[in-house]
Amino acid sequence: MRIVEKAQLMSASEIDRTLRRLAHQIVEKSGGTKHLALIGIRRRGVPLAQRIAQAMRGIDGVDVPVGTLDITLYRDDLSKVAPQAVLQSSDIAFGVDGMDLVLVDDVLYTGRTIRAAMNGLFDLGRPQRVSLCVLIDRGHREMPIEAQFVGRTVQTSDTEIIEVRLREIDPEERVVLVDRQEP
């Protein structure tokens, strides 16, 4: 099987602009940042959440707490993914009771990750509200889950993959659409 790059969906500067727009939208819609907190889903949701929080400092001058969540223990497809799942730490240093939480992830696809993330969150307490922010929504939902804050919606086919590459994790920064082609 060959992996072929079909298109660039976002450049580094477009990612940056999109995250700043998302930061504005979240602040606007929350009507106050007092109880607001961002939860980045490992792995690429984590730097995205940190960058959105950084952008919020520029808007309101407010420090919004950022937590990270590893959803491995809450997945419904463990044995299908890998013979051994490797766990990462979650780090949510604030209480979630009564909070207005925004889950942040790179790509929204089947919705199963978000289902798992919500299970993880509710083990920590009872947030007042949970919303979802993603850089890319590529459709093909298998759960009744939608994002309130979307960087860009992209129509995709089942064989296509969206790769969000971020400088904190990857050697380059851009979003590409790749396809798997049978030889």
Binding site: D70, I71, L73, Y74, R75, D77, L78, S79, K80, V81, A82, P83, Q84, A85, V86, L87, Q88, S89, S90, D91, D105, D106, V107, L108, Y109, T110, R112, T113, N119, F122, D123, L124, G125, R138, H140, D158, T159, E160, I161, I162, R180
Partner: protein, 331 residues
């Protein structure tokens, strides 16, 4: 990094990377012990068989709690109230348990090598919860996790082990783990419990020395591991309890000979006033209760590691051909 074995029978065959991996995998489960809601559904539908052919309270409860916090069910076999008393062989008992289709077997047995023997006859993961005087790998891991949390690193620590080392599987598992991180060991206790052979139980090149004066043994120690003294082994004339206390008890005064930030570990249950004074057991340097909490985290990590990925043959290969289940399963 992955773990390359189906079972966890001993720490001796594991290298430093694999041991670090196991300790790192325990960290998320340490966090879960602090959650208001500690129960996960990760291993829902799985069953863990706990086969304790030798008495144990804390290890059995710890494994049982670890299983239930992961959402798994447990089957309990306790030697006291079981067919073992009626003369059934180890293999028959284990085959019977296995026929009830557990997904993992945790075994404690008084014979060294029992876990290994059982693992060779079963097709499910086996975790050794202590076999004779051989190893107690989950205890070694929880001790190391406790040390790493308190000391920041396991590299090059001076470890003093006090007590009946010749009969101690806890000491062996600790040595097999910590020696791979360059720790140096000082073994101290009555000569009959610290035979010369112990100097060569570690991996090649491991620094293990025997010292018979506790004051000398404690000098420069970063970690003092106090072993439980089996009181039935203390008797006149060879060694009375009074002699043991006089010569080898860890008291606050003696602990001052170790490094000021030295920590004290004990696998429990403690004989207060025999191998350790209450003052030390309850003091700021004592990690005894942290060890208990960490024990659940380590055992959750082991059960998760060994049972969550036991998919049907070919499931992984099949998943890789479906974009939804492979690269993008996390979306």
């Amino acid at each position: 990094m992955t773990y390359r074995f189906r079972d966890l029978l001993a720490l001796e065959p594991l290298n430093a990377d694999e041991l670090t991996f196991l300790l790192d995998q325990s960290k998320p489960f340490q966090e879960i012990q602090r959650h208001p809601l500690k129960k996960l559904a990760t291993l829902r539908g799985k069953t863990v068989a706990l086969a304790f052919f030798e008495n144990s309270t804390r290890t059995r409860i710890s494994f049982g709690t670890a299983a239930s916090r992961l959402g798994a069910d447990t089957m309990n076999l306790q030697a006291e109230a079981s067919s073992v008393k009626k003369g059934e062989s180890l293999l028959d008992t284990v085959h019977t348990l296995n026929a009830m289709k557990p997904d993992c077997l945790v075994i404690r047995h008084s014979a060294s090598g029992a876990a290994d023997f059982v693992a060779r006859h079963l097709d499910i993961p086996v975790i050794n919860a202590g076999d004779g005087t051989h190893e107690h790998p989950s205890q070694g891991l929880l001790d190391a996790l406790t040390m790493r949390d308190r000391k920041g690193s396991l590299e090059n620590l001076n470890i003093t082990i006090l007590g009946d080392i010749s009969h101690s599987r806890v000491a062996r598992s600790n040595i097999h783990l910590l020696a791979k991180f360059g720790c140096r060991f000082t073994l101290c206790g009555p000569a009959m419990w610290v035979p010369r052979e112990l100097e060569s139980i570690g991996p090649p090149g491991a620094s293990i020395r025997r010292v018979f004066r506790i004051e000398e043994a404690l000098e420069d120690a970063d970690v003092v591991l106090v072993l439980r003294v089996q009181t039935e082994r203390l008797h006149e004339p060879a060694l009375s309890a009074g002699d043991y206390i006089l010569l080898y008890q860890l008291s606050a005064e003696r602990l001052r000979l170790a490094k000021p930030d030295a920590i004290v570990l004990h696998p429990g249950p403690m004989n207060r006033g025999i191998e350790i004074t209450p003052e030390v057991a309850d003091g700021a340097q004592s990690c005894v209760l942290e060890q208990v909490t960490n024990g659940i985290a380590v055992r959750m990590a082991l059960l998760f590691l060994l049972t969550s990925g036991v998919a049907e043959e070919g499931a992984v290969a099949a998943a890789e051909n479906q974009p939804k289940e492979s690269t993008h399963a996390s979306h």
